[in-house]
């Protein structure tokens, strides 16, 4: 099938699967059906942001899904080539804005790796705790939106209620709720707030009573299970060959948690289970994220009481110049594996900086697994993928 051009969408021309020309379809059937195009997005309530999906639909059945990107492209990678290494960090807040701290950490870890500086234990532990809090916050929002996409609007507010508590913790410590920019190459901008430990513990005790409620409200709900079980099934082979990562891959049984397999920060000393489900459907992805929230709480509980003393930043030069070479570091964001590749020529700016964002690879699966599904299935599958469009587009 030849790719769909914009003009085709405008002229509403039907493309027959498997044919190169526009010859009318000769189906040996009494009812000849006509496929048509529907634009889902870029201003669609189900697309969380400005993702445009060009759907080829036959009635309710989806024949083809073509994502059309670029509506929120801000050329962050190019901007990074102009900025110094300290300045790059705050741009990554704007990529996957729901796990902004983890993005910052990825860049900082790469720079630290290149400079071969070792941050103190205190920094590592604090980074890990905040990363996990970020993960919970991101998953809270995802849970609310997942419910909303399948039609249960109330979940959105319950998810936000718990997310707001984490945001308050961040605001008290970092000064911002969403784009925190708390990491700098060599450590943290400033020490945690004195209330941080207490607030985090309060949150954990609060959230431990709320997470079972999530299960009661949505996970167990028969309609929700019908909507997600067996929908958008991604096999393990496809998960690997499409390069998916994060909860999407782990929902298909592809164990690739970076925290477990390529330790960074303080993940080597905490004990947690890698959330893994083998069904590969939307419900498995849902369960992975719910389990990740439990595991994240477990990690925080292990670390929060024993934050070691130490320097909050390792001194670096005011102008950081990375040695000539290529550097790569990966971290596990709430959406999957984020890789930062820096090609340095020894100057104060990177020669080339590339983000391997999880959302982009995950999006490529969408067409593959929603073919033949219904519009409602597409929405449920998209919700279970938890797209953040700036993460895909950058």
């Amino acid at each position: 099938m030849r790719p769909i051009s914009y003009r085709d969408c405008e002229r509403n021309i039907t493309l027959e699967p498997g044919t190169q020309n526009m010859k009318p379809e000769t189906i040996n059937n009494n009812f000849k059906t006509e496929e048509y195009f529907v634009n889902m997005g870029p201003q669609h309530p189900a697309a969380h942001g400005v993702l445009r999906l060009i759907l080829t639909i036959d009635g309710e059945i989806i024949k083809n899904v073509e994502p059309d990107l670029g509506y929120i492209h801000r050329s962050i990678e190019k901007m990074c080539e102009r900025d110094s290494y300290q300045q790059i960090v705050h741009l990554t807040d704007r990529m996957d804005y729901l796990s902004s701290h983890i993005n910052n950490e990825a860049v900082c870890l790469t720079v630290e790796k290149a400079l071969e500086i070792e941050v103190s234990e205190r920094v590592k532990v604090i980074r890990t705790i905040i990363s996990e809090l970020t993960r919970i916050a991101s998953h809270c929002l995802w849970w609310g939106v997942m419910g909303m996409d399948v039609g249960a609007l109330t979940t959105y507010f319950y998810g936000f209620r718990d997310r707001e508590m984490i945001n308050d913790i961040f605001e008290e410590t970092c000064g911002a709720r969403l784009t925190m920019n708390y990491n700098i190459p060599g450590g943290l901008m400033f020490d945690i707030h004195p209330n941080f430990v207490k607030r985090t513990k309060d949150f954990i005790t609060h959230f431990k009573t709320k997470l079972p409620e999530y299960d009661r409200l949505l996970t167990g709900n028969v309609i929700f299970q019908k909507r997600t079980k067996g929908v958008g099934v991604l096999t393990k082979e496809d998960a690997i060959s499409f390069g998916t990562s994060g909860p999407v891959a782990r929902g298909s049984g592809f164990a690739n948690d970076v925290r477990k397999r390529h330790h960074y920060s303080a993940y080597d000393r905490v004990d947690f289970k890698e959330a893994l489900f083998t069904e590969g459907d939307s419900f498995a992805r849902y369960q992975v994220r719910i389990m990740e929230m439990w595991e994240a709480m477990k990690i925080i509980e292990q670390l929060i009481d024993t934050i070691p003393e130490g320097d909050i930043k390792t001194p670096t030069n005011a102008v950081i110049k990375l040695p000539k070479g290529e550097y790569y570091q990966r971290v596990e964001t709430a959406r999957g594996e984020l890789g930062v590749y820096i090609n340095s020529t020894g100057t104060k700016n990177p020669y080339r900086l590339k983000f391997r964002s999880p959302g982009f690879s995950n999006l490529s699966v969408l067409d593959h697994i929603t073919k033949g599904a219904k519009i409602g299935d597409l929405v449920a599958t998209m919700a279970s993928f938890d797209f953040v469009i700036p993460d895909i587009d950058r």
Partner: protein, 355 residues
């Protein structure tokens, strides 16, 4: 055609007939009643919208509208005024006639259905001997408004919404009808006022018919929710899938008509449930039986509001079904259960096991 005016309006009735020739007086009276109903239910619809927003807010840990007037009581009035003043837009190449007809179609059919309800002993505009059947008949037409509205918008989302609406309403009408028939079997009459009279002596029908009546009530609530296109059956306007479904392209007052019609339909479904299962305007255990000054319409409204609250509770708790699951629920679960229930009800009446 039988017209039972309110006691209060008796004087107006007499006065009209004294000053005018008979035909003119009768037409004037009809018009007056129609205007009264229109005004009453426009206001009722608006306050149902407000109630929905408040209830939704309380379910969602919010406060809800509280800026316009005390407790936000005039919020929906202000919204209606705003919608009135808005431009009526339409897309290119719509079928203008049908596009403009659709909202009126929807709102008219819902208002017609309201005319047969006995809100109290005297408050009933049209006491027809086939009341229940008339309700089914009128509600079956309402879907046409949605269908032509969705088709003439020249919008694919609206079109899909309209198609879904057609499928949904045709299938669920069956369940609504069958569960109503189950209760009609118990009462032996289709006239709404008589159905209520039966409940005066024998207790509410849900008590008289016990098990099959309860099953019929549950099925009626599910199918009724689907019939009004509300969540969890709001596939017609599923905002995460179709934008706004069949009324995507409507703006201003035309949109408001669709919106109002949804709430009046909800009122109708709740009213049917109240009349068929919960004794209409009869007070529970006959508390206010002997009190002549007590407005019985209050009991009717309280019961209706409880049922409406239940439907709102559904809406703000459950996810939406998929279109094939919607049809599976109807044809594989509700319909067979309903048919069996009908037979059970017949047996119970035959063996005289009713309370």
């Amino acid at each position: 055609m039988m017209m039972i005016p309110l006691n209060i309006t008796k004087t107006i009735h007499d006065w009209l007939y004294s000053v005018m020739p008979e035909n003119a007086a009768s037409i004037t009276e009809m018009l007056l009643i129609a205007i009264a109903y229109l005004a009453l239910f426009a206001v009722a619809g608006l306050y149902l919208v407000l109630l929905e927003r408040k209830v939704a807010a309380w379910f969602q840990l919010r406060l809800g509208p509280n800026r316009v007037g005390p407790f936000g009581l005039f919020q929906t009035m202000a919204d209606a005024l705003k919608l009135l003043s808005k431009e009526l837009t339409s897309t290119d190449k719509t079928d203008k006639f049908l596009y403009n007809l659709a909202p009126f179609f929807v709102i008219t059919t819902s208002l017609i259905a309201l005319s047969v309800f006995p809100f109290s002993k005297q408050f009933q505009a049209f006491d027809i001997n086939i009341g229940v059947f008339f309700l089914i008949a009128v509600s079956s037409i309402g879907v046409i408004g949605i269908l032509i509205g969705g088709w003439s918008s020249n919008n694919k989302y609206a079109m899909i919404g309209a198609m879904r609406s057609g499928v949904q309403t045709i299938s669920y009408e069956l369940s609504v009808g069958l569960s109503i028939i189950t209760m009609v079997l118990l009462t032996g009459t289709l006239q709404l006022s008589e159905i209520i009279e039966i409940q005066r002596t024998g207790g509410w029908l849900i008590w008289q018919g016990h098990i099959p009546a309860i099953i019929a009530f549950m099925i009626f609530m599910i199918a009724g929710t689907a019939e009004t296109n509300r969540a969890p059956f709001d596939l017609v306007e599923a905002e995460s899938e179709l934008g706004a479904g069949f009324h995507t392209e409507y703006s201003g007052m035309k949109f408001a008509y669709f919106f109002l019609a949804e709430f009046i339909n909800m009122f109708i479904i709740a009213s049917i449930a109240v009349v068929l299962f919960f004794g209409g305007w009869l007070s529970p255990f006959g508390i206010t039986e002997g009190i002549t000054w007590f407005p019985e319409v209050l009991w009717f409204l309280i019961k209706v509001l409880i049922i409406i609250f239940l439907m709102m509770w559904f809406r703000w708790t459950f996810p939406r079904l998929r279109i094939d699951q919607l049809l599976t629920l109807e044809w594989k679960y509700l319909l067979p259960i309903n048919l069996v229930n009908l037979v059970v009800m017949a047996i119970i009446i035959w063996l005289n096991l009713t309370f």
